[in-house]
Symmetry: C2
Subunit: 110 residues, 2 copies
DNA sequence: AACCTTTATCGTAATATTGCAATATTAAAA
DNA sequence: TTTTAATATTGCAATATTACGATAAAGGTT
């Protein structure tokens, strides 16, 4: 096989997995960190920041975009990439939920 | 090609990516959620909770374990799996950092 | 127009992941 | 000791990901 059986899991589980998967590569973590670091969203030099060829970076950007972690607006002949806070909100919510679950458990095990 | 060029990225970037990748599959999200839901850590019925064959579940558990998201103690002839809070702490820290970065940016763009 | 810059897409090779049947391992139970 | 139950490992097929050279597309600049 090799294909994930997404249809057997809940929408929420697939959503979290998709976001996590998008963040599951150091280049994509680096891109997110860079977008946070630079002052403006008028980027266009992401390629120079990464130790990867331009087509590879473009591919990583597309994956981040399709997962909803970033958004890109065309700005003249370059593109302005930004972090999409909606996705981060979902992530944050999941971890808050995990945290709550752990607090509950503390009372009776491990 | 096909292999991630980890050596070109920082240790932190690789660490976050590894954790995120481990969570990047709905079955593994489901496992984490299940470990949070059940009352005790004396599990052993994770296989029955998932719509996947036993060897597949075992493999997912191993991946979560090697990423540091869960730990497993042998308990008689079954195994007691628990969430490893250390990994979650790293994750939480990363998102806090992202949050801070976004607050900074709010002042001047997008 | 001809040219440059920036980003995307295509094609392809190398490698990784997903999933499961078959089988092994381990320890408790009978 | 034989059996049973729980989990791991092996081997393999199907599919996905990663990376990049070559090339295309789109918008500026001269």
């Amino acid at each position: 096989m090799g294909a994930t059986k997404s249809e057997h899991f809940t929408e929420k589980q697939n959503q979290i997995a998709t976001l996590a998967k998008a963040l599951g590569h150091p280049a994509r973590v680096a891109i997110i960190q860079y977008l946070l670091k630079v002052d403006t969203c008028i980027c266009g030099d992401i390629v120079n920041e990464l130790p990867l060829a331009q087509p590879t970076v473009s591919q990583h950007l597309r994956e981040l975009k399709s997962a909803g972690l970033i958004k890109g607006n065309i700005e003249g002949n370059s593109i302005c990439y930004c972090i999409d806070e909606t996705a981060l909100e979902i992530f944050k919510q999941f971890f808050a939920h995990v945290e709550d679950g752990l607090d509950e458990k503390k009372k009776r095990c491990c």
